[in-house]
Amino acid sequence: MPVILTGNLVKQYGKIEALKGVSITVDKGEIYGLLGQNGAGKTTLIKILLGITKATHGEARLLEEPVGTTPVRKRVGYLPEDHRFPDYHTGSSLLDFYGSLLGMKRADRKRRIPEMLEMVGILGRKDYKIRTYSKGMKQRLGLAQAMMHDPEVIFLDEPTDGVDPVGRREIREIMQRLRSEGKTLFLNSHLLSEVELICDRVGILQKGQMIREGDVETLTQQHGLFVIGLAPGQKFPRDDVVEHGYSVDEVGEFWEVSLHACQSIDPVVDLLRARGLNLRHLVEKRQSLEDLFVQTVEEAEPGVDRIARKARPASKKRNPE
């Protein structure tokens, strides 16, 4: 049974439809990334799953129970995007307070608090008031409180927001560790490179609709586009390859060869060998998640002006990875 399940979820705020029939499924042990532009409905979806907001129509189940029930909430952790901790608390007293609300016993809280703070790297500041914490430290504390009661599902809304690169890496490692422990993570982030690195599956939400969903590996694969690199000083026989019916683009020191229907890359490799050229690089090109996201969003809304994006260099001009 899936850990998170929604079916045709609709949420209306007056005349505005924030979610238009969203259906997702997340299995146990998965890290699911929810992508979308600002206002796409990501936070609304998370809030419905957590029982903070009620759906207008549709089904939402968490851990095989209806969302928002007290037993379910005991098994869920959450780090909201724009969290605001009461700054009269210290890091330690805040975890103690939340632990008490979660129904944790005093002994358990006493044991877990230093463990959690150490895991997120702020144990040394446990007795300092939160108002003295930097944004990154507050983010780490937020992660600690989400994991405090060892929940089965953790919802993280922009968990690396305001965190430095080293911290981001540490948070990534924590997420991987949680996955290895069998926890399910529901991640909402604008840092698509982070999502690409950590998530098993992603869904792209656009104006309240799930426009694309699948595992990262499959979604980012680009069939029929190969990147070729030759030994230094050797010239790529572009005209000959084009004569064979392929499209060729020069991208820096590399050449991108596009295959048309029923074509294979093998004739190109044979041609290069026949010319005595030394092949140094040959990979099937993958799309970055960011490219996929932009492309998907733009396809979903053809004809919409996006000045900022059009001014940006096209994905083809990027160096291949």
């Binding site: 705020y13 809030k47 957590l50 029982g51 903070i52 907001t53 009620k54 007290t70 037993p71 909430r73 005991k74 869920v76 959450y78 909201p80 724009d82 969290h83 605001r84 901790f85 009461p86 009269y88 608390h89 007293s93 307070f97 939340y98 008490s100 609300l101 979660l102 129904g103 409180q145």
Partner: protein
């Protein structure tokens, strides 16, 4: 455990606000100030001389107002004041003294002109006719139940002398009924007020100063301080983290509400217990009705805090909560006062055309529906006064002495009669207000406000 966690959280929030320490400091100052007031019983001579001073002032003003008496000087004095019984308490002892009336023109008696002499003799005759020994005796009965006054010859032609002898102590039967002089800072600074009985002084400090100004100040600060508790909890980014915890929304709101009430309760406990101890230790009067104020003030605060909670759920703004609380406070005080003044005061004497008028009936109904802030104030004052007037005896009778027992019983009867009469006065003034109706109407209002707040909080999307 969750309740304790939320109460602890409220306490942390309170301790984080600087205004709290200002309030604690001011409360301590008030408690210390009240505790530093000493109450010295005045002697009977001091009491009579105090009255003489007032009378001298009044008569001199009268004389100065008439052209023919402007040159006259007048004053009342006591001479040769003696205690003639063994009772240590001044109010129980008997005295003999001379009450001396001096009328002069401010010149040496030998140098008086015949006109001056004539004016003086004329005034003395007028005084003697107006104030006879019997009249003075009746005047002294205000202080002495048994007193004998007789005119005695005087060596000085400007003086009229009366010998006054008391035989059954004073009208005060206990210490609290006797006149005392309050002094601040453990007797260092006299309070410039007229001499009042200890009862009246304690009532003034406890009921008027602390009950009115103190309670208003405490409520003002508590309202400001606790107004942010619920809006802070409902702030974006904070409420999300609480709503995902396994605790019902209504429970969360009610616990937070209790946190605010506890703040007021503890604050009032500190102030009222401190004042009760201070007054009790210094005056020997342990008025337990002062402790009733703790619960009454907290209950009154609950009315505003329930409104504040509803407004917090609707607006999430501490400023709007404070304004709404103060507005409620103002409306309730206004309705309470005006209802007492226009409706309740002298209700039995009002004609049916007035009491049956639609405006009269409507205003009465408005008062009945709204929480009874002022009624509770008056009921508390009534309880304090009731306790202060309760019959108390300073000395126990010697059971082997029948005369002493008889005297004790007589005093007891007299005190009970005074007590009954005081109660009748209180009932006449505030008899229409009862604890039951006031508490029920107020509780209903609180429940309504809280119910609406809980319903909105439970159904709202965050």
């Amino acid at each position: 455990m969750k309740l304790l966690a939320i109460l602890r959280d409220s306490l942390k929030e309170t301790l984080d606000v600087k205004l709290f320490y200002v309030m604690v400091g001011l409360s301590l100052i008030v408690v210390l100030l009240v505790g530093s007031i000493t109450y010295k019983p005045v002697s009977v001579q001091e009491r009579i001389e105090f009255v003489n001073k007032l009378q001298n002032l009044a008569i001199r003003q009268q004389l100065a107002a008439q052209p023919q008496t402007q040159s006259l000087d007048f004053h009342l004095d006591t001479e040769d004041f003696q205690k003639i019984s063994d009772e240590p308490e001044p109010w129980l002892a008997n005295y003999r003294f001379f009450y001396v009336v001096t009328l002069s023109i401010g010149k040496d008696a030998a140098k008086l002109s015949p006109e001056d002499r004539k004016l003086l003799d004329n005034m003395k005759d007028q005084f003697k006719k107006a104030i006879t020994a019997e009249q003075l005796e009746r005047n002294f009965h205000e202080l002495f139940p048994e007193v004998k006054v007789s005119e005695v010859p005087s060596d000085n032609p400007e003086k009229i002398r009366y010998e006054v002898t008391t035989s059954k102590g004073t009208v005060a039967r206990t210490r609290q009924e006797w006149f005392h002089e309050p002094r601040l800072f453990f007797g260092l600074v006299p309070v410039p007020v007229p001499l009042f009985s200890l009862n009246n002084i304690i009532n003034f400090i406890g009921d008027q100063v602390i009950g009115s100004f103190g309670a208003a100040f405490t409520m003002l600060i508590s309202t400001i301080m606790t107004a942010s508790f619920i809006p802070n909890m409902l702030a974006k980014g904070t409420v999300d983290m609480l709503l995902v915890k396994p605790i019902h929304r209504v429970t969360l709101l009610i616990y937070r509400f209790l946190g605010g009430l506890l703040f007021m309760f503890f604050n009032t406990v500190v102030i009222m217990v401190g004042i009760w101890l201070g007054l009790g230790l210094q005056s020997g009067m342990w008025v337990t009705a002062f402790l009733l104020c703790i619960f009454v003030y907290t209950f009154q605060f609950t009315m505003f805090y329930a409104v504040s909670t509803l407004v917090a759920v609707l607006t999430r703004s501490a400023i709007v909560c404070i304004l709404a609380s103060f507005m409620t406070w103002g409306v309730l005080v206004l309705v309470g006062w005006t209802h007492w003044f226009f409706i309740e005061k002298g209700r039995p004497d009002k004609p049916v055309s007035t009491t049956g008028h639609w405006a009269y009936v409507s205003y009465d109904a408005v008062h009945n529906v709204l929480p009874r802030y002022k009624d509770l104030d008056w009921l508390t004052s009534k309880e304090i006064k009731r306790e202060l007037h309760e019959p108390r005896l300073a000395t126990r009778p010697d059971l082997n002495d029948p005369a002493s027992v008889r005297a004790y019983e007589q005093r007891q009867k007299l005190m009970e009669a005074v007590y009954k009469s005081e109660q009748e006065k209180l009932d006449q003034e505030y008899g229409a207000y009862t604890w039951t109706s006031s508490l029920i109407a107020s509780s209903f209002f609180i429940a309504l406000m809280l119910g609406l707040a809980c319903w909105r909080f439970a159904t709202r999307d965050y």
